[in-house]
């Protein structure tokens, strides 16, 4: 069953300052959702709220499955990849070990995913010594290894060059084709156009626009979105 989420008046305040919301919106059951917006618009917070790791000050976020299932069928890739101080192999295996997967399964999955993210030759290297792009790919592989139904990515390609970006996008497209719902933020409008099936445009913590990708890029509804797409500075 496809997982969908509903935000009802979701509001996040920190030290009296509103970071996000109130946001009321529905997440479509499938596709790649790109969250756009200037810095500080609340993109990361929105992702974390949906992922359930950010506490809401007010309002609710509801998935159409039980909390337990929602937790175990989601994965999150952080903006700066968090590497366990272990080898690449052990980093990949870690999420499977947590759910007590069988040894044979772990071995099979790790080599499969190492292949997919192009790190098959680096399995025994310490993960903390990988390059930025390799770290990000490893984080992505580690997130996908449990076959999540929903994958959150927070600017997965920030600071990466074209080749690493393309490799990551290929893995994402592949994951999408095999039924993973993807929700990601990016500052790269080209990437947004390449991947988006729908767009959430955030501004000052509010959902400013939520449109299918083609519609948003060709015909944004608000002047702020138009300015943002043209590359103007929107605050």
């Amino acid at each position: 069953m496809a997982m969908t989420a509903t935000l009802q008046g979701a509001l996040v305040k920190r030290k009296g300052k509103t970071i996000l919301g109130p946001v009321t919106c529905d997440l479509l059951p499938e596709g790649i959702t790109i969250v756009l917006g200037p810095n500080g618009a609340g993109k990361t917070t929105l992702l974390k709220v949906l992922h359930g790791v950010e506490r809401l000050t007010e309002g609710t976020v509801r998935w159409n499955v039980s909390d337990e299932e929602a937790h175990t069928s989601q994965a999150y890739v952080f903006q700066s990849p968090i590497m366990l101080r272990r080898s690449v192999r052990q980093n990949l295996a870690y999420p499977l070990q947590l759910i007590r997967a069988s040894k044979a399964d772990i071995v099979r999955q790790t080599s499969h995913w190492a292949q997919r993210i192009g790190l098959a030759d680096a399995l025994d290297r310490p993960a903390t010594r990988l390059s930025g792009g390799e770290k990000q790919k490893l984080a992505l592989g580690r997130a996908l290894i449990r076959k999540p139904k929903v994958l959150f990515l927070d600017e997965p390609c920030a600071n990466l060059d074209g080749r690493a970006t393309r490799e990551i996008e290929n893995v994402l497209q592949e994951a999408y084709r095999t039924g993973t719902r993807i929700i990601m933020t990016t500052h790269d409008l080209g990437q947004a156009k390449r991947l988006a099936s729908d767009v959430i445009f955030l501004l000052k913590g509010q959902v400013h626009e939520q449109l299918p990708g083609s519609l948003f890029f060709d015909n944004p509804q608000t002047s702020e979105a138009r300015a943002f797409l043209q590359g103007d500075i929107v605050e």
């Binding site: 992922h51 994965a75 952080f78 968090i82 366990l84 101080r85």
Partner: protein, 234 residues
């Protein structure tokens, strides 16, 4: 200077001739302090890690108390353990006073706060690094603690070695609860105190050098076994 040379000479002969008494008290020193280290580590490493990841009401107070306990005077610990274990004390029936077990108990009390505190400091940094990932992966508290312990093992080794250093060199508490009884509870440090009191500085110094060598050897051995200081490992 003469005393020091004489001490080195005494140490040399004690070791070369494998003096039976020296061997006995050295092994007892090792036995008492290593046992205390194992017990204290078993308590302090998980506790220190747990303190780093859990947020609870009296957390700050607990950490402050723990840090204060690091400076616990061994003599006072010895006195309290003595009173608890003495014939008229609550645990007198166990007959533990003036046994190596009593010395182990005292040393566990002395080094547990030290190990737990250093563990907590190190684990706090590692937890800050891992926090988001481990939360996102929906880990249980136990999984978090074990992950931190496994990945922070180098820092934990340092914590344990600091605890061992304090235990092996400690004299105040074990003198009181052990009683420095020959062939029963005499260890290197209490023997040194005794020989110094008797004015046999050469033998005292000799024992002192043996003690230092022992501490160095244990450190090297643990580092070699756990392969910590090698390139590319943590």
């Amino acid at each position: 200077m003469n005393d020091i040379w004489a001490g080195l000479e005494a140490a040399f002969w004690l070791i070369v001739t494998l003096d039976a008494d020296l061997l006995e008290i050295t092994l007892r020193s090792l036995y008492v302090s290593l046992t205390a280290l194992v017990i204290a580590s078993a308590i302090a490493l998980p506790f220190g890690s747990w303190l780093a990841i859990r947020r609870f009401r009296y957390r700050r107070a607990t950490i402050a108390v723990l840090n204060a306990l690091m400076g616990l005077p061994p003599v006072v610990v010895g006195l309290v353990v003595f009173l608890l274990l003495s014939r008229s004390g609550p645990f007198g029936v166990l007959g533990l006073l003036f046994t190596p077990t009593a010395m182990i108990i005292a040393q566990v009390i002395i080094i547990t706060p030290l190990i737990a505190s250093i563990t907590h400091q190190a684990m706090r940094e590692l937890w800050a690094e891992y926090h988001d990932l481990l939360i996102s992966l929906n880990t249980s508290n136990w999984q978090r603690v074990t992950t931190l312990i496994v990945d922070g093992r180098r820092a934990l080794l340092t914590a344990s070695l600091a605890g061992f250093g304090r235990a092996i060199g400690e004299v105040g508490a074990i003198m009181i609860v052990g009683g420095n009884i020959e062939h029963a509870t005499r260890v290197l440090t209490t023997a040194i105190a005794l020989e110094t009191g008797k004015g046999d500085f050469a033998l005292a110094l000799g024992l002192g050098f043996v003690l230092i060598a022992l501490a160095l050897m244990v450190n090297f051995a643990i580092h070699a076994l756990s392969r910590t200081e090698r390139e590319g490992r943590w």
